[in-house]
Structure formats: C-alpha cells, structure tokens
C-alpha cells in the first residue's frame, strides 16, 4: 500500500527537492527522509489538506533545513563539495537550451530561500497560489508578495547574467 504512495508521488517530491537543492547527492536522501517522515506521521494525518500537499510540505521543510545546514557549514568555512554548484533546476539541459537553463539556475540560486521556495512551487512546479500557501503555511498575500519580489529579483539577475 505504502509502496503505491511512494511510486505515485516520488516525481513531484523529486521536482521540489531538486528545485530547491539542485541535483546533488543529498537530494535522494532527503527524498527518502520525506517518505519515511510521511510513514511515521501518517497516523496523525487528519486529512485537512490533500495528501500530496502534506507530502510536499514535508519535502519543502526538509529542503529548507538542508539549505540552512549548508549555510551554517559555509559560515564555518567547512569545505563542502561545491554546494553552490548543486542548485541546478534543470537536469541535463538540452544543448540549445543549456545557456538559458544555466542562467535561470544561477539566478535562482541567488534568490533568498523563502522567495525561492515560493518561486519553485508556484512558477516552476505550477502549484496554485492556495496550494503554495498551504504547503508553506503562509497567507495567500505573502505568497503573492514573495512571488512579486522573486520575479523582480530574477529579472534583474537574468539581465545581469546577459
């Protein structure tokens, strides 16, 4: 039964985690932790939101924790395996789109993690504004204002890239 859940939702979970962290070795571990956490808390799931929303919320929280951990590690000057290179929204970009994809990745990487989470969920993954608000536990207005800032930042960052 739980195997069916994993099979059904592993791709949306992967999209969110890799969107937040990039295609790094930790992404797979965090994906596994997401489902283990779901299994652990499934009995407490009250059905107030859709199961997918609940699962994506777990994935997003774990990704944000990982970003915080990286930030702490960098602050301590601990050498990691180029964490800044991990954030790659688009896996294995096609040759003709490589430059654009790389520019978007680099711009996204420079966004604040709160703006990035809203941008990934709402724009990249196409969740509705309400779903994004539910996943992140923030009001609708906050989603829109963070999105507005994120888009403006992205526009400037992409302009600077070019």
């Amino acid at each position: 039964m739980f195997r069916i859940l994993v099979d059904r939702y592993k791709n949306p979970v992967a999209a969110v985690i890799k969107g937040m962290l990039g295609d790094c070795p930790e992404a797979e571990d965090i994906g596994q932790d997401t489902f283990i956490s779901l299994f652990r808390t499934l009995a407490n799931f009250r059905g107030e939101s859709a199961l997918k929303t609940y699962l994506i919320r777990i994935a997003m929280n774990l990704s944000l924790n990982e970003l915080k951990r990286r930030k702490r590690m960098l602050a301590k000057n601990v050498k990691m395996d180029s964490p800044e290179n991990y954030v790659q929204l688009f896996e294995k970009p096609q040759q003709e789109n490589r430059e654009l994809a790389e520019s978007i990745n680099m711009a996204l990487e420079k966004l604040d993690s709160r703006q990035r989470s809203v941008f990934i969920l709402r724009i990249v993954e196409g969740y509705s504004t309400k779903e994004t608000a539910d996943i992140l536990h923030i009001p609708l207005g906050t989603v829109l204002s963070r999105l507005s800032r994120a888009m403006s930042e992205m526009k400037i960052l992409l302009a600077n890239e070019n």
């Binding site: 994993v6 992967a14 299994f39 990249v124 993954e125 829109l144 526009k155």
Partner: protein, 138 residues
C-alpha cells in the same frame, strides 16, 4: 550599482499569473497593467521558466522506491509475537545445549572424579559422595 526591483501589487501579480497560465496568452494585451512593459517582460520570464521546466524530467534513481521500503522495513517493522517467541526459544535452547556440552566436557576431562551418580548420592562405590557427606554432617 544595484537596480531596485519593480514590485508589482498583488492584484497585478494574480492577473499576470493567470495570463501566463492561459493557453492564448501569446496575444495578450498588457495595457491593463500599471507598467505594461514591466508586466510583459515578467510574463516572458514566467513563460520561459515554465517552458524550460516542462522540457526536463526530474526524478530519483530507479531504485528509489525499493530503498525507501527497505529503510521503512528496517526502522518500523518489528517481528510479530510468533517470530519473537521462536527467537527467544532458540536463544534458550542454544544456551541450554551449550551448557550441557560444557558439563559433558568437564566430566570427561576430570576422568570420572565427578559423575552424575556421585553428585546425586547414588554412587555405589566406597568413597564418600556429596549427598552422603551432607547426611553425615547431621
């Protein structure tokens, strides 16, 4: 010099999002926005990001489901009562069996100085045995 980002108001953002998600958005007019040029450039950004995302596949390794199920089995699946009892019985049996083996070894290496009948007092020999010595005490 850092450029100050142009922040759109919430209503305009909602309108822009719905335009970006509509199928006929290519022919959209942006005159309804307070800054039409700004809205159009953001609209293009949204469409570009979404188009790029749609071209790419994101997923975990093919063994992901198996790995998750394996971890869950290790972390959460405790053995049922029958398995538990059988495991306990095996432990007791192994302990008892090894004790008997040790006693038999001890009897063999002590060349019969200690044997079962000597210990229980049923030894027919002349030598005093453990049980008899207890009786002689009284």
């Amino acid at each position: 010099m850092k450029i100050k980002p142009e922040i759109m108001n919430r209503k305009e953002i909602e309108k822009l999002l719905s335009l970006a998600e509509s199928k006929s958005a290519d022919k959209t007019e942006f005159s309804g926005f307070s800054e039409p040029a700004e809205a159009e450039s953001k609209f293009r950004l949204l469409r570009t990001v979404r188009a790029n995302r749609n071209e790419q596949e994101t997923g975990f390794s093919p063994f992901f489901t198996e790995q998750v199920m394996g971890k869950i089995n290790v972390l959460f699946n405790k053995p049922d009562i029958q398995t538990y009892l059988s495991m306990q019985f095996s432990k007791v049996f192994a302990f008892g069996f090894s004790t008997v083996i040790l006693i038999l070894f001890a009897l063999y290496f002590m060349h019969g100085q200690i044997n079962f009948s000597a210990f229980t007092g049923t030894d027919s020999g002349n030598e005093i045995n453990f049980i008899s010595s207890v009786f002689y005490e009284f």
